[in-house]
C-alpha cells in the first residue's frame, strides 16, 4: 500500500510533528479550528492531538450539516413522512437523528414509508418507479452535497417527474465561519479549511478570513501528514505575521473549484435571507432554498409544514460544543444520558459529530485504559 504510506509514513510524520513543535512559540497558546467534521475524525482516529505540544489547541468546528440542523427542521421534514401516499427518503446518516417525535427510523417502525437512499438520484428513480406516490427527498449537506441535489432537480425537470420534491436544508460553510469569527466568546488563531467542500467552491471564498479578520486558513487533506503539514503552514504564517489562504490539498482541490457544479447550484438554488443553525443561531444568507424556477419540486412550496421552532433539550450543550466553547466531555450529558446508542443531540448521532468522535476515540480509549 505504497500510496497510503506516502501520507502515513511514521518517519515523515515524526519529522512534521517536530517541525510543528519547532514553529510553535512556547509562550503563546494557539487555538486552531478544524472546520470540517471529517478532519475532527481524522485528528482523533490517528491520535494527531497526542503529537502536538500542549499549547496548540484544536477546536472542532461546525462542519457537520446533520449536527447544525435544528430539530424543528427535522420535525418539518418528518411531518411529510406520515402523510398517506408519501415516500420519505433521506441519507443513511439522517436515519437515527432524533426529531421531537422520534427519528426517521422510528417513524418507519410506526408504519411510515421511510427509505434510505445513497444519492438524491436514487430518490428521483424511486419517484419514477412509483408514479402514484409522492416522493420527498430530505436534502442536507454543505457545498459538496448541494451539486448532487441540483443535478437531481435538473433531471427531474428535464424528465417532467412531477411526483418528486425536495425538502432543502443545504447550508453554506463560509457564512458559518464568518459567524464564528464574529462570535464574541471565540478567539481563534487560524483555520484548517475543508477539503472536499473546496473541490466545489475552490479557495477564493475564504479570502475574507485573511483579508478582513487577519487569520490564516489552510485547505487541508485528511491523512495524518496532510493535517500536520497544514498546521505547519498555519504556524509559519503566524510566525511570519502573514494571513493568507493556502492550499495544502492541491492534489485534489483546484483554486477555482468546479465551475460546472457552481453553475448548476446557481440555477437551482437561491440564498435564504437567513437560516437557523443549532448552536450558532440565525445566520443571514447561510443556507439554500430552491429557486423560483424549481418551485414545482420544492416541498416547502408544495406542502404545508408545521414550521415550529423546537428548542434543544435544556441540559444538552450542543450549541457550546458546536461553537468550540466547550469540549464534548464538558457537556453535562456526555456519555451519561447522551451516547451513540441513545443520542440526545445530533453531535452524538452523526459519525462526523464532535461528540461521537470524542466518545469513540477519547472516552472509550480512556475507559479501557489505553
Amino acid at each position: 500500500m505504497k500510496f497510503v504510506d506516502e501520507f502515513r509514513d511514521p518517519k515523515l510524520i515524526r519529522a512534521a510533528a517536530e517541525e510543528v513543535r519547532r514553529l510553535a512559540d512556547p509562550d503563546r497558546h494557539y487555538r486552531i479550528m478544524e472546520v470540517c467534521g471529517g478532519h475532527t475524525h481524522a485528528i482523533y482516529r490517528h491520535g494527531i492531538k497526542n503529537l502536538l505540544p500542549p499549547n496548540i489547541e484544536l477546536i472542532h468546528g461546525p462542519g457537520c450539516p446533520v449536527c447544525v440542523l435544528p430539530m424543528g427542521r427535522i420535525d418539518d421534514g418528518l411531518s411529510l413522512a406520515e402523510r398517506p401516499g408519501f415516500i420519505f427518503t433521506a441519507f443513511g446518516d439522517m436515519m437515527r437523528v432524533p426529531g421531537t417525535r422520534g427519528s426517521p427510523l422510528e417513524y418507519q417502525a410506526r408504519g411510515a414509508d421511510v427509505r434510505m437512499v445513497y444519492s438524491p438520484l436514487d430518490a428521483l428513480r424511486l419517484a419514477q418507479e412509483n408514479p402514484d406516490r409522492e416522493v420527498v427527498f430530505f436534502a442536507i449537506g454543505f457545498e459538496t452535497t448541494a451539486p448532487s441535489t441540483a443535478l437531481t432537480l435538473m433531471q427531474a425537470r428535464a424528465l417532467g417527474v412531477k411526483n418528486f420534491s425536495v425538502f432543502c436544508n443545504h447550508v453554506l460553510i463560509v457564512p458559518a465561519i464568518r459567524a464564528i469569527l464574529d462570535s464574541p466568546d471565540m478567539r481563534l488563531d487560524g483555520f484548517i479549511g475543508p477539503g472536499h467542500v473546496s473541490t466545489v467552491i475552490g479557495c477564493r471564498p475564504y479570502q475574507f478570513i485573511a483579508r478582513d479578520y487577519g487569520k490564516p486558513i489552510v485547505v487541508s487533506g485528511f491523512e495524518p501528514l496532510d493535517i500536520l503539514q497544514s498546521l505547519i503552514m498555519i504556524l509559519r504564517q503566524l510566525k511570519e505575521g502573514r494571513a493568507e489562504v493556502e492550499n495544502q490539498y492541491s492534489r485534489v482541490v483546484p483554486w477555482n473549484g468546479n465551475l460546472a457544479a457552481l453553475r448548476a447550484m446557481a440555477e437551482v438554488f437561491e440564498l435564504r435571507p437567513y437560516f437557523e443553525w443549532r448552536g450558532l443561531g440565525f445566520i443571514s444568507q447561510s443556507a439554500l432554498k430552491l429557486s423560483a424556477a424549481y418551485a414545482e419540486w420544492d416541498a416547502e412550496v408544495r406542502f404545508e409544514l408545521p414550521g415550529v421552532r423546537v428548542t434543544d433539550p435544556k441540559a444538552a450543550q450542543c450549541g457550546e460544543v458546536l461553537k468550540g466553547v466547550l469540549k464534548p466531555n464538558q457537556c453535562k450529558l456526555f456519555a451519561r444520558e447522551c451516547t451513540p446508542e441513545h443520542p440526545v443531540g445530533a453531535l452524538m448521532v452523526s459519525s462526523e459529530g464532535a461528540c461521537a468522535a470524542y466518545y469513540h476515540y477519547v472516552h472509550r480509549a480512556a475507559a479501557v485504559g489505553r
Partner: protein, 81 residues
C-alpha cells in the same frame, strides 16, 4: 482490479461512503468507460459503479474522479483505465 494508488486521493470506497451528508467525504475512482453523462468507474478495491459526470464533462477513460453521492465533483488525476 485493485488500485492501491487511488488511496493517494482518499480512502473512501464505493460501498462505504461514510457520513455522506458531511461535505468532506468523496471516493476516488478510475473511469473505465464513458457513456453520455454517465461513466462506469472502479474504486481502489475494484468495485464498480456508474456515476454521473455532468460536473466533470471532460472525463475520459483513465481519469481519476472524486465521487460524492453518485456524482463526480472533481477530476484529480490519471491512471491506467
Amino acid at each position: 482490479m485493485v488500485r492501491p494508488e487511488l488511496a493517494r486521493y482518499g480512502l473512501g470506497t464505493l460501498d462505504l461512503d461514510g457520513c455522506v451528508t458531511c461535505g468532506d467525504i468523496a471516493v476516488p475512482v478510475v473511469v473505465l468507460e464513458v457513456a453520455g453523462s454517465e461513466a462506469l468507474c472502479e474504486d481502489r478495491l475494484g468495485q464498480r459503479a456508474r456515476v454521473a459526470v455532468d460536473f466533470t464533462p471532460e472525463a475520459a477513460p483513465g481519469d481519476v474522479l472524486l465521487v460524492h453521492l453518485g456524482v463526480a465533483i472533481a477530476r484529480v488525476g490519471r491512471e491506467t483505465p
